[in-house]
Subunit: 284 residues, 4 copies
């Protein structure tokens, strides 16, 4: 059986995507892109060690929040602007671009130095004041689907960005809220197939929030690739048990390595190599 | 890259399944099983032509309903017992086993001659009177997840079958009801990963009801295989536009062929050959 | 302020209802009807004492299941046909008609002697084999809305009964399944207002399953009356802590009395007297 | 039957509420408060005429948005700061306090002159950056429940306000997102009963967004009062057919008058007079 004709495999649903360049990586092109890292930046050691671990196993961009949207005001809210220096240092040391959540239009300017992709979280998908402002700057925006957003509403939220002039938009499916309780959310991979077919946006899948269950991550990473996603956004923590937020859903470095190992044959079958970290890309 | 060690790929989530034999096919073993055919049996020509088309492209069992659960009492309700002779003739001509829905405990006996797998539809998952009776006979039962059934309720419905003495149970995820409107239901592939990991039942995925959208079928067949499902249940109609029920979600023969073509590289990557029709199996 | 002109109050939504007579009580007429009793019939003493308690406080019909649809096969499934003699004795002693769930078409005949209203539970709303058979007999049928049934599907289920020839149909809203976890289901009182306006069926509300929380029962009984329901279906157990099913959501006799006391001023405002037990009706 | 002992009626669920004063009106006290007006302020004539109409029929505060959160960026987004002068003029002419939505922390200061209650819409319930800022100013905040927010998340959002120092919080149930399609959302009156019993916040109900269907408004206003809500938030437009946003769900002046007429007997039964406009209050 030949895998060379990737068009045969991907032809039915993935021929219109317009790739977005971010942090030296092309998202939505032939290569499959994995963004991985901690929910929140906690310290330089935590971020640097996690960054190195995820790069070793195939991630090409780093995730890590400075500002966290937490349901409970007494929960850890992120390091805030204090974390910028840590992020800068780790970015310089590893060469990995940073994807970080933005929660307030007034943070766009201070974060622009250090953030390669502004992430709009599910809880802010309907925060149109924020979207309008992000539409007026030029960094790529990763737009997560809202907790209970219709696909149509998600695409209209992307219009808020586009109508401001920014068309560097990456969509991210992260699970919707349903009655099911064994998983934190219900990951909607049909929505990924739908937006791949009906729009030209690159689409990532976040199985960490999508399921909230580390043991389900590897099969859902495989499924996300197979359904046609352009990449993954995964929470990895060097020591999940001490994580200050979302530790229960983060993969350990070993868990991430296992998920990536199981993902590679699927990507090979799809004719989509894993993008990998910048250093690897240079040497290829 | 080597694909020979399928355990590396499937090891994280699929090592406990106890296969179920049905219609000469092993469901839940190494081979991936596709059950395909029309929503409802309409005529001998329709069933025979569809059966041949799906067998040509990799199906190893035939689906086709004699009794349909239709929301509207004025809709076509299936041929009923009249369809038994048609089913017998097509089964004999093609050698394909039949998976057909059962909606009334009083039909178990007349259908036992011709049905290889009794399908309990989503709307009857909570029909415990029916489940109890199916638990007391020996044919395999394909148990679909209810429209809004918790995974735990689905597994307890399986207990109704088991506690009667029948452990030839195949689970089938077919989408849950959510707010999203672009798809008929929301196919919950996380639930497949969950039950693969926590039970020993074979698990199929029905992307036809799961999405209701033919154009999304190929990517979701690929994703279902990648997430660890043991097979698929797909609606195929030789002429979807004339179908008397669910025609809008059925694949044409060509659409089915395309979905199977896109599925094969994924199955190869997973180390799971497509089971194929009985004739092919004999010659292998 | 005058309350005599009930048309002013109810005029906007309640002028088409065709009442259904059941167990000597008119449901859907000017009087508001409360059906109360245990989830399951456990013993003659339990049923008789509960029946007397609910009649004392305003119920005009008794509920009590012989066959229970339980999610778990190891749960108490009801006394079955053994309970018929108990039901007959209590019906004779109190003069209260009985509303009991039917879960199998083969039980219609043995239950016809003792059941005044056949209740189709939420899990069987889509059990069209059962509905067809109930359509061919003449007892009133209380049709609960399915766990995740669209209003339109609920009304089409009623069509299954009507198309068989039985138009003695009473609808019952009992909560739909949503993501919320503080209540067992989400009671959809908008659906009650909708079906009152768009159909001629009497409509009851079941706040016991609708919320699953005894402390919320009194306010929701008031709201159900205010929104235009024709009555209530309430689980009351003489000793909820010893109940063999659903005890956690049953009201005690004192809780029921309190809910009825809070309901009466609302009913007075609406110009709808509480129907009350047969004895009271005779003496009125 | 005596209605004087309102404690008998309300005693089971409403004895802890701490009222919040806003625009000269006490919300959460014995009087029932109706806030009514257009979705968006469109012109001085539109706002003034609507304000007079709603005051005539029992509203005691005016609603009207300057900034609208619209799903589609091409929809009318509100007059913005330009509308402030209109709002001031109408407030002066009618004596009605204004409840207006706030969508951006940077608008708090310019709106503080003219807004008596800052409304946080459902789509911003999770916008913690906005909530934190609103917690640091002293105007009352009406906090709507998010589209798919758990009751617990709604109460934690209120904690964001409280932890900043502002305890003038009014909750507002406005329907949650479910599968049902006959209504825009599913109004969750059980949630109202729950928060009345478990918190000390005043709670309003918004049947306009809760159902999206004008013909269901009157019954749901009655039900909201009966379940224990402290008031209503209703969209009224002097000419719904020309409304620039949400016109399909707004009541006309006549529809509002009818809903209020049907509400009054229920309020009388509950022992809760309608608060009414400031002029009426002075003369009482």
């Amino acid at each position: 059986m030949s895998f060379t004709d990737s068009a045969a495999t991907r032809g039915s649903d993935d021929n219109r995507t317009e790739p977005v360049e971010a942090g030296g990586v092309l998202i939505g092109g032939r290569e499959f892109v994995v963004i991985a890292g901690p929910c929140a930046i906690e310290s330089e050691a935590q971020l640097l060690n996690t960054a190195r671990a995820v790069a070793d196993h195939g991630a090409s961009l780093l995730r890590g929040g400075l500002f966290k949207l937490r349901t409970d005001p007494r929960s850890f809210q992120g390091l805030g602007l204090v974390g910028i220096d840590i992020a800068k240092a780790v970015r310089a040391a590893t060469g990995l671009g940073l994807c970080a959540e933005i929660t307030d239009p007034r943070h766009i300017e201070p974060l622009s130095d250090v953030v390669d992709i502004f992430q709009v979280g599910a809880r802010n998908m309907h925060n149109y004041a924020l979207l309008k402002e992000l539409g007026q700057q030029s960094r790529p925006v990763l737009l997560k689907r809202g907790l209970s957003a219709l696909i149509d509403e998600w695409l209209l939220a992307a219009e808020y960005l586009k109508s401001g002039g920014n068309s560097r938009i990456i969509l991210c499916e992260r699970g919707i809220r349903t009655f099911e309780r064994r998983t934190r959310n219900t990951l909607d991979l049909s929505a990924v197939a739908y937006v791949k077919r009906h729009t030209s946006f690159p689409v990532l899948v976040d199985p960490s929030h999508g399921t909230g269950v580390p043991e389900l991550m590897a099969p859902l990473c495989r499924a996300a690739a197979a359904v046609g996603a352009d990449g993954l956004l995964i929470e990895v923590h060097i020591d999940p048990e001490t994580a200050r937020s979302d530790g229960e859903q983060a993969l350990s470095a070993a868990g991430f390595a296992q998920a990536m190992a199981e993902l590679r044959p699927i990507l090979f079958a799809l004719g989509r190599p894993l993008s990998g970290p910048p250093a690897n890309r240079r040497s290829r």
